[in-house]
Symmetry: D2
Subunit: 404 residues, 4 copies
């Protein structure tokens, strides 16, 4: 009989539905070493949390996360709250000896993220596992892309282009929600979707971004204030308020090997709905992926005869592809939520095996440091900026590199 | 408190996993009027059925479907066995007063299908619902396509091209499984995948196929006999046996309005994995769909200025699109199994509302009649053949039509 | 100094512009063994022919083709008149000892085509060259596709799908031009564009179509009579006349090897402008081509590892690809008229070398026979019909094949 | 009788073939007010120039451009030499009263370009026309895109992404040709192909780039020295030399309206052969173009109902599209060289009408200034840099902008 792995999920918003689906479905398709049990859902509003728990299939609901993370019948804390609460919850849960999955971004600030990474490192010594939720790593196509790179099929990485394009802010009259206010959201397109572009780049190439140069831009700077925010009720008034986060981020990064990667995160690319795209050009081959066609990978093999080279559209649905054998026959497609099942599977296996889960909190911290360096570059006329927080040292390093 | 709808599923193969996922997930995303309960899984082998029930989340397992369909604590019988047993189980379940979902094809023969349709019609008078499982109707893209046609956006339908292309038989040394033997599988590519092409055509256009002309072909006629079939064990021997079903079907159909539709079902289109494609050309617009890109619909609107016309790639992921609001935000993709959740939802709603479920057994019978007419045409040098079983009358009608 | 090859072109319509561009440009990019000289343009109306000759760059203009083909200073007769005059001109030109290029279709009837093929065969003994103008064979992508098939990269041909889709008749109020009248056009979509689909199939596979079954359809059967046809002037009246040619042809063919090919020629596929598409599925690989992307070839290589298989989009613009080295660097595209330059080049080379030019008049005759067999099948309830004109024998052969 | 316009072309390399084709073909398809006459081809080597003149169809050949530009029987000087000679020839030809077309880049340095623009402006007062050869503006798809933007169909421009991706340097053992040496080529990917991306952006949006920030990179810094350069003959030796130009340029630009555009020019994007791509996102619509599919334009119209929005693939081959009516029917494709015919046509018309030709030398100068600013930014740690040559003033302006 498989031992249970009892989960408490903190947070009951949109991502809660996705994580719930992950936990619910993973054990039905994968033969897991521990049996995930959807034990407690924790939210702020008791009635809404109870309703969500019923809908999503959690056995209990609760409102006090501090109490729940100390329950002896809980093994895993899964954090899907807004970013500004991640640090407090995760650090407390780790201290309570619970394995922790934390939705991305790891935190709203580098300092919080660093404290979380330190806590995770400390807890790791006691066999406590932690993971940050960059689920787009866990699609068959992206994992297979990583495998091709790791196997040397691309040769040396020469260039990367990574972009995450959405358009939901294109309407200039869309209201000023909390997501557009820096004090609550922490960041705009950069942290919300640019983070995925950075993580996917580092995951696929196996290299970290060490320096960046870029610009953050707010395309529509003022928007209608929601009536509820302005003390009125029922509808948006004529009052307008400032958007205090970026809705476009353009930056260039230097990878460890010296290769350049260029990045874009936009909420204004009208017509692009969820286009997380990455193209890696190497010396022997290239890869191209687009989340709007999530079951496909484009692969260019430059070792073929010159007359036969071309980007081939691989349907990543063969049983030999990562994760696929557990699902459907060749040519049957997976969707958005499958990444969450794969995350659940991989985390359960890491816990059972006592091995490190990836991406780690340290990985999540690093992504935050990259984003922070982009913001610093943007504030400094776009100058190249070290991901290392010591700006002066980083600049010196940049100059030395340029002179070499 | 929502009343339960207690389900027994007969059959524990591949389609059982898909139907289970449909029942499991539907109530988590849709607000259903009845609560589906995965009560009993029925299979032939007791141990394997019990294991499947555990994996898939059925409360009980059983081996005697006749007993189960008479249990008073069962409301719905969901049939996912091979086609040759559909008629017996479905007719008995309807007689026992159970609602029935039957996986396609409705049956292996027109006679069986006709008896099933008659039983369903009779049961309907007592409020018993039945449905055949053409789940590809229930993707947001295909349903939205149907809606556009129904709204007149294509004008008069001028032509249809429908094809279902796979390649899993391309290897001539692939073994002679039961699927390639007529006595057990009933039919080859025609019934297995051609049926979907016919159903999707009728669903989207709202018209039935009335006459057909075509050919059934077996491209690789002999294959290695499986060791287990030939009394040996461990591996395929040198013995070869005959493939007795088609692996390619090419046919043309006449729709009710007089428009022609051309069809192909192939298991030898190397490189095409699961390409159920349909393109409908009308007088005002055209539509194109490919199951290998299941979240997309190509729409050509000929009422736009001539310089601006073009097939537009609609991501059918907006909340206003069919089924989508229950799932994820714009641009987040659904996969193969979502059709089964939509089927579960629609069936539950029909049962609760006391309305007819579609596609009905009569729809399923009609598809079988079309396929049967193709087989008859193929045996008669490809001559145009009425879907109506009375071949002589149909031929007379064809001649009259040709002369008009 | 390169010897001249003096050309007379008979016909001054749309195809005349294309052939002129072919003759004009070919010697500027290819190093030809003879120098094509655009000597005489022959048309019906003297003033318009002279204007066309000036525009297109012919040295002289004339109106009496019979005289021109006997001129001693003419080496080649290039026929671009409507199909009903091809036989008379070509046979006379061959008799006069001139090399002949004849635009497709070779003729409007099989009888005419047969007489032309016989005349070409006879003239060949005297070193006279002839060619029918299926220029789509002469794109780098289609020629390279043929080369891949011939090199065995597809293994055994299992299936072919060939279609030529246009939409210029979609408007039901488009007028009844001569192209829609059988006595003048000979045929509709079948002969005009279906001929290309048949030729490309035979060219790429290296196999002939031996039997067919199909249907010809007239989707819009009555159209407004042009004012000029009805004795009025200035605009279309309210009079309507019958369309006497097909605007849709659907047929299936049996290739020499036994493989099936399915064909469609349509002028009603709304949104498809010039989609001559062919997909060949073999035992080791597949190819797909679409004239709307004329510089691309999709190639699927099933000998690659299963995880890496996919249709690859080859840009057929490498110097090693057929015809390409003469033109522009990699990635620079060719257009419609380049096929005519390639035709000119290949014809000049055949004349200079004294070798047979392809496609021959016999090839053109064969295509006409295939189309004729489709028409006979359509008139016979769609029954399988031998391309051989002896219907009874062909049917016997069909039955024997079916029984084998 | 149409008056002749007598042309002398200076330069006999690859671009000479393209310009020759433009002059040769344009009057055959367009009804021009003056008749271009291919009078004199000027090259360095007399024998090779004479051969090229024969091949391309120039009446005379010559080696002394200074003499030719003063001939009274020459009206137009078309310059297709390497960039370092453009200024001297163009300024002299303008001074001699000749109309001038100069291939891009206008010059190798901003100073040269500025002197050319001044000379063109001065000559313009005497009715002398000049144009720089950004022919990619003159494809039907790019011109139609400009028209859609100008008509307001995109609303406000929010963002631009422009990239020109090639891969011909991917082989690290490709030799060190003159194109990779700064003293001869002036610049690498930036000037060669990045110039097109900048020009197309400015052409389509109707806005100039005012500030830039970016980096120039040399991915493979040492390459084999060609034997001929090192005094040996026959093959490449073991000697290696430094690549002194960029092979990758990544930069961001600020448009006049304030919108950001991001750019990439790369010769290392393995698998991309000639991918000049531009995507413009506006408030009401978006456009996307890729030179690897040169007859297509993707248009997204956000004023359509939300369920029907999608990028539509417009085949820009309708007679109502720019330039198309002169060529072939709908759906028949144009190729690379058609841009040169359109350039010839537009230039001839401007000369005949006495109107300004575009893009002007001033436009070409501006592009050079943008590229120069990118180089300066790259040398200054990527800081935002004004296109205006006065760096201090530009930086002040940047700071003021950032503070606003």
């Amino acid at each position: 009989m498989t031992q249970p792995l009892r989960i408490a999920m903190i947070g009951a918003g949109f991502m809660g539905a996705a994580h719930s689906q992950g936990w619910r479905v993973a054990p039905r398709f994968f033969d897991l070493p521990l049996a995930p049990e959807m034990s407690v859902l924790v939210g702020r509003d008791i009635a809404r949390t109870r309703a969500a728990a019923d809908t999503w299939g959690w056995l209990e609901s609760a409102t006090d996360w501090r109490e729940v993370i100390h329950r002896s019948d809980i093994d895993v804390v899964d954090i899907v709250t807004p970013g500004d609460s991640h640090a407090e919850i995760a650090i407390a849960a780790l201290a309570a000896g619970k394995h922790v999955i934390c939705e991305k971004p790891l935190a709203n600030t580098v300092d919080e993220a660093r404290r979380m990474a330190e806590a995770a490192a400390a807890a790791s010594a006691s066999g406590i596992r932690s993971m940050v939720g960059f689920t787009y790593r866990r699609l068959p196509a992206t994992t297979f892309a990583r495998d091709l790179v790791a196997a040397g099929r691309l040769g040396d990485i020469r260039q990367v282009r990574a972009e995450y394009l959405q358009d939901w802010l294109s309407d200039a009259e869309a209201p000023l929600t909390w997501r557009l206010q820096k004090d609550r959201a922490g960041s705009g397109a950069l942290g919300d979707i640019g983070a995925h572009a950075v993580d996917l780049t580092e995951f696929m190439t196996g290299q970290r971004v060490t320096r960046v140069a870029g610009i953050l831009e707010t395309i529509v700077a003022e928007r209608p204030v929601l009536a509820s925010s302005s003390g009125l009720s029922g509808s948006a008034g004529t009052e307008r308020g400032s958007v205090t986060v970026d809705d476009l981020a353009l930056f260039t990064g230097r990878l460890e090997s010296g290769a350049l990667a260029s990045f874009e995160a936009s909420r204004f690319r009208l017509g692009r709905k969820n286009a997380l795209r990455i193209e890696i050009a190497g010396s022997l081959g290239s890869l191209s992926f687009d989340l709007e066609s999530p079951n496909e990978l484009q692969f260019y093999d430059a070792t073929a005869p010159s007359t036969e080279q071309g980007f081939r559209r691989i349907l990543v649905t063969e049983p030999e592809h990562p994760y696929v054998a557990a699902w459907w026959p060749t040519g049957h497609m997976l969707g958005y939520e499958h990444g969450f099942s794969h995350q659940a599977k991989d985390f359960v296996e890491a816990v059972a095996a006592g091995t490190a889960a990836t991406p780690s909190f340290a990985d999540g911290l690093h992504v935050q440091e990259v984003l922070d360096a982009v913001a610093r570059s943007s504030e400094s006329e776009g100058v190249w900026t070290g991901v290392d927080a010591d700006l002066a040292a980083a600049r010196a390093a940049d100059r030395a590199f340029a002179a070499s």
